[in-house]
Symmetry: C2
Subunit: 447 residues, 2 copies
């Protein structure tokens, strides 16, 4: 990459720059060229965007952050800026317009053809995280009455700007989606076949106001390369291509993992996130958990006499509350992921809870026995083994049950179940764990 | 779906079944038809596979488990079984052959043409989780000397079986990959252009022995629909399409989430996993953590005198060890995910550790102050507030540091950092936490 940067520096402002440039970058992927651009000085970046072939410049632009896109467009020659903006994929353009100041966006949008601007405006109305917010209008539409031959000619004409040319979207005069026909079907059919002979009137679609996860789920279930997005009247709003959904799938998993770990999800990538942001994303949950956990101290104070009498009781507190927390963390992560993947849903609540309770009883029996042996072996007080063993059994069974019920309830309430993190479950079961422990102790030790 | 099942039942064995069948299923996606097939009786399933058009039958087969695929092939008429096997995508065929008994697999493979069998045999040699194990040989290859026109004609001829027709793989006489040309480029170019005029000799590839995550990372970085898989001599082994990698991305995230929650990853989906398997996946980690945590009990025993003197010290043990565990869990989940996404790598170790230490100091200051206030407010012993506050500060700073270093070290040792789960970090920092707490107590309380 360093070589290429040196090469570019010596070429960019010299004679014959366009030809020399193509010789040194034609073997690069747009993504890599974007990384190289970012390593250049601002004026070199501008010059690169100015003299690259338009299609390649647009593709490079797609991999840059909206702020960088805007800076490059703002300082480019007016003709170049307009051309770039018009060839930019519509989903990238929408992200750009939403990221910059509304007045700047308005100015840029003024350069777009009227009809295109209207469609972009529609895309901009969909709230974040909905399927509509991911849609692009750069799809290829066709009419039922067209032959394959006519459709292929149409693809040749408009295909350059299309996000996906693997599918043709057959719409009627009102813009309603009739069916999706794959390029494969068309290439394999005879040129005189009418599209109406291939369509089957039952495309798989996603509603623009659905959650983006729904789009990701459908796409991965049906192995499509793109999925059409429609409005309430089945009018085609746009399409979402698989590469955009791969990003969504990764981002949703990242968000769930960070939430399950007990912090608010980060917006930027790790290295770009400053310490103060990391701090802010974590401190609130730590404080909430801290105050919830403070109750456990009050419960323990209530059993001060028992503790004073058998000080060895305190030795097993970390063991018992961690055993509960660990079991709860295992259950909650498994269920939250199963919910996110759609492997289980509301109607499976009872089955999941039963399963986790059964698993919890088995785990409780094993860890309870281990705890019994451990406490007996320590030899600190008569009967303490039974107290610790029985408590461990109940605490683990309880933790599994709570950790199964909570995410299912939140899912039913349409709250993201990933807020039930491992740390939250640990904190929630601690108080009950301490209660169980001291009551078993009072009963068995007669204190 | 119930309607369709009733429909099928009344049609399958009746007169004119093939025509009636197409009328009632032509609007369905293969995935949906596969779900319907699974709801039918065995003999109905066989009949459905027998009379569906071959292409559709194959597509339905792709969505079934290997055991079901084998049963259907085994009981189908010999001609049908052979035809199905030959049209099955090669990655699906490989998964089938690897899942059934080697002798059954050998029998089925005997039905394949020699050259195809050899390529399948090569695919079967790649270990699980490598890029090679995901590859399919159902790609379209072309030679540099071909014109666009000839290539398009070739696509029409062989495209039916191809997994992806969006890319053509240009290879030389030794089978080495020269470049990947997109169907879009070809459709937009003039028919007489030679492929050699379009190729650039620098395709992005993945080595067959690379980890499948590497393939997923490249594909999502470059927004490709498929990525070529090559051997050490740059010979084209196969391709991996984006829909297969979406499954990999989902599966890898699921595995990480389950590991981070402190259990071994599940192989099957949640509802299909029996209680005993859930138990087995969880119990070992719980036991390991249990024995590690048992050490904390020994440490506490060491401070028995201090505890007896100031019994209130025990009230804050759950609070302190949970605060450490929670902070550690936040750090570890964030870093493990950043490593999985390639956002950070070995060379960023020091930067990540510094960042987490700084965040830990800030969090320690806030939670330490809260702990001070809480302990003072409880009014159980003089100076206890300072003890609890100072301990909380050190414990949280320590937890952040350990939770940052461990995943980075494991990553460097090429061990999956996700084994450092939230529960593991909690357990690891507990012992030190108790040590810190009692030593601060001895120092400040003079006990």
């Amino acid at each position: 990459m360093l070589d290429t940067i040196q090469d570019l520096r010596s070429i960019l402002f010299g004679p014959n720059s366009q030809q020399l440039l193509m010789d040194s970058v034609s073997h690069l992927q747009p993504y890599d060229l974007a990384q190289i651009l970012l390593a250049l000085e601002y004026n070199e970046q501008q010059q690169l965007v100015e003299i690259l072939p338009l299609d390649l410049a647009t593709e490079v632009l797609e991999y840059l952050e909206p702020e960088v896109q805007y800076r490059l467009l703002h300082h480019a020659s007016p003709e170049r800026a307009m051309a770039l903006l018009r060839t930019l994929p519509s989903d990238t353009a929408v992200d750009l317009f939403l990221a910059i100041h509304p007045r700047q966006a308005e100015l840029l949008m003024g350069w777009l053809p009227d009809e295109y601007r209207e469609r972009i405006n529609t895309l901009m109305t969909f709230p974040e995280d909905t399927a509509g917010s991911l849609a692009t209008v750069d799809y290829i539409a066709a009419r039922e009455g067209w032959t394959i031959e006519k459709t292929l000619a149409h693809i040749r004409k408009v295909g350059r700007k299309a996000e996906v040319i693997s599918y043709i979207y057959v719409v009627n005069a009102r813009g309603q989606l009739i069916d999706v026909v794959s390029l494969k079907e068309m290439i394999l059919a005879s040129p005189q076949t009418l599209l109406s002979e291939i369509v089957s009137n039952s495309p798989i679609v996603v509603r623009a106001d659905s959650d983006q996860e729904e789009a990701a789920r459908l796409l991965s279930q049906y192995d499509f390369l793109a999925i059409p997005v429609v409005d309430a009247s089945n009018r085609l709003v746009g399409i979402i291509s698989v590469d955009d959904l791969v990003d969504v799938i990764q981002a949703e998993a990242t968000e769930d993992i960070q939430k399950l770990g007990g912090s608010e999800p980060l917006i930027e990538s790790y290295l770009k996130t400053p310490v103060l942001t990391l701090f802010q994303k974590r401190v609130w949950w730590l404080l909430v958990l801290f105050f919830a956990e403070a109750i456990t101290g009050n419960i323990m104070r209530h059993y001060q006499d028992a503790l004073t009498e058998v000080i060895a009781l305190s030795f097993f507190i970390p063991l018992l509350i961690d055993a509960g927390g660990n079991t709860g963390s295992q259950t909650v992560t498994t269920l939250v992921r199963a919910l996110a993947l759609g492997e289980i849903d509301i109607e499976d609540t009872w089955q999941a809870v039963k399963k986790e309770m059964a698993t919890g009883l088995l785990l409780g029996a094993v860890i309870g026995s281990a705890a019994f042996v451990r406490a007996e072996f320590m030899g600190v007080a008569t009967n303490l083994g039974s107290v610790v063993g029985i408590s461990a059994f109940f605490i683990i069974a309880w933790a599994s049950t709570v950790a199964a019920i909570l995410p299912m309830v939140l899912h039913r309430l349409k709250v993201d179940p990933a807020v039930v993190s491992g740390p939250l479950i640990t904190t929630l079961v601690d108080g009950v764990g301490i209660l169980v422990y001291f009551n078993v102790a009072k009963l068995l030790l007669g204190i």
